[in-house]
Symmetry: C2
Subunit: 280 residues, 2 copies
Amino acid sequence: QWLCQSIDTMVAGVHFPATALPGDIAWRALAAAASDLAAMGARPLNFLLALSLPESNEAWLGQFAQGLAQAAEHFAIGLIGGDTTRGPLTVTIHVNGSVAPQHALRRDAAQIGDRVLVSGTLGDAGAALSLLDKPFATCSPAERYLLQRYYRPEPRLALGQALAGKANAALDISDGLLADAGHIASASGVALAFELDNLPLSPALLSLAGPRAQQYALTAGDDYELLLTMSETQWQQFKHVPEAALLTPVGWVRAGQGVSISKGGQALELPTQRGFQHFD
Amino acid sequence: QWLCQSIDTMVAGVHFPATALPGDIAWRALAAAASDLAAMGARPLNFLLALSLPESNEAWLGQFAQGLAQAAEHFAIGLIGGDTTRGPLTVTIHVNGSVAPQHALRRDAAQIGDRVLVSGTLGDAGAALSLLDKPFATCSPAERYLLQRYYRPEPRLALGQALAGKANAALDISDGLLADAGHIASASGVALAFELDNLPLSPALLSLAGPRAQQYALTAGDDYELLLTMSETQWQQFKHVPEAALLTPVGWVRAGQGVSISKGGQALELPTQRGFQHFD
């Protein structure tokens, strides 16, 4: 087995509101790190936590620990160490996972002619951003669904492991579909072509965002869904395994470079804002 | 081989001045993390960096990268991945190392009758804290030596590897000698007795701190020296290996609990401030 490692930082006021529930902060931080294992097709082994806190607050820490324990149990990954320091609220998680040699999923191995697929639904967490300040008690069921998608993402660990050795390229969408598709396209030296009407959208997103739902799906990050490419032959077999129920075909890998979108056969102009920019 | 992992966070304004030289910040962060490998007796393999920065500043990043590369080459450890985020200046480093099975140094295995030894000299970095705001150009050679000890610590990697399987207990002094000795004492269920006049002090510390030099040696952290215990039989052999030149015998492991200090056979009262407190 190969050892896969990934480290991920979430900063209060940047990646989550400082006033978010401590249990949600913990879940989301561990989910984001575990999602990197899913994207590699790796099985979770264990993790380390480096936590910076402005002050020692037992109530806050208790809730944080509870959310972390819930997530760790749900993702089947155990805490083995860490570091606690005084500082601005920041959660860094390092995950260890294992994958069969040569089976690790990469972003540089998409092949011309591959299907492009995504897991789950897209844009939900991005649409939740405008709801983060809204009192939860006043939220509609659809709004609560989007907030759940933002705060309690489900890293696609079982799907990732099923894809190991079968998908050609994969990553987890954290910067937005177009931006992350661009990463696969440039690393693999190919083009990714999407059909707009095929993007999987949740009923909650459609009901709340209306005509802007597709825009969220294309450019918003934070869903931690998988984007992958797979040969057509492989897909015709893979689509019968249980984990494939999460997948939607959304396009094709073509010769060329970059990312394109069409709607009913007509090429569309790409949105200017391609995804999350780490620095303005 | 066993895989050893450790994660360490340094926060601007807490663990270093925000205005410190970027190369020094990088060196010190990697040294602190690598020191955890030294304390386990592990050989460095590689590391991951999670860096939070308030803004993208190419000049700052270039100097940071240069200091990190210097330290990585000096410690023979390579960068294999990481994460960069926007946020308050924070440097988190995760190190991987390897050690022969059963040979990893621990803090819970000190034996009654062991020698207590420390590497290098103690208190230098602690005494440097009062110099951090002083313009470097106006610093004396002794002051510059202490600042070098603070900003460019030397994790005792070769010594740690030589000690693996030979020392009974070890850790790296990051919270201060008394505080860290207390960790070994409580984890091992023994007492550690120090002879004050045996503490190794640098000429620079003695010349600048005068009568307060021993206080720095007892309570100041940040030196990243090793504190260890070893059977007398083992020490009589080990003291002839080259790495042993760094070690000074400073006391004994006794039956009982806690930490004590004597001077010429007279028990001394312990200072109230026992070391670095992470939260007030």
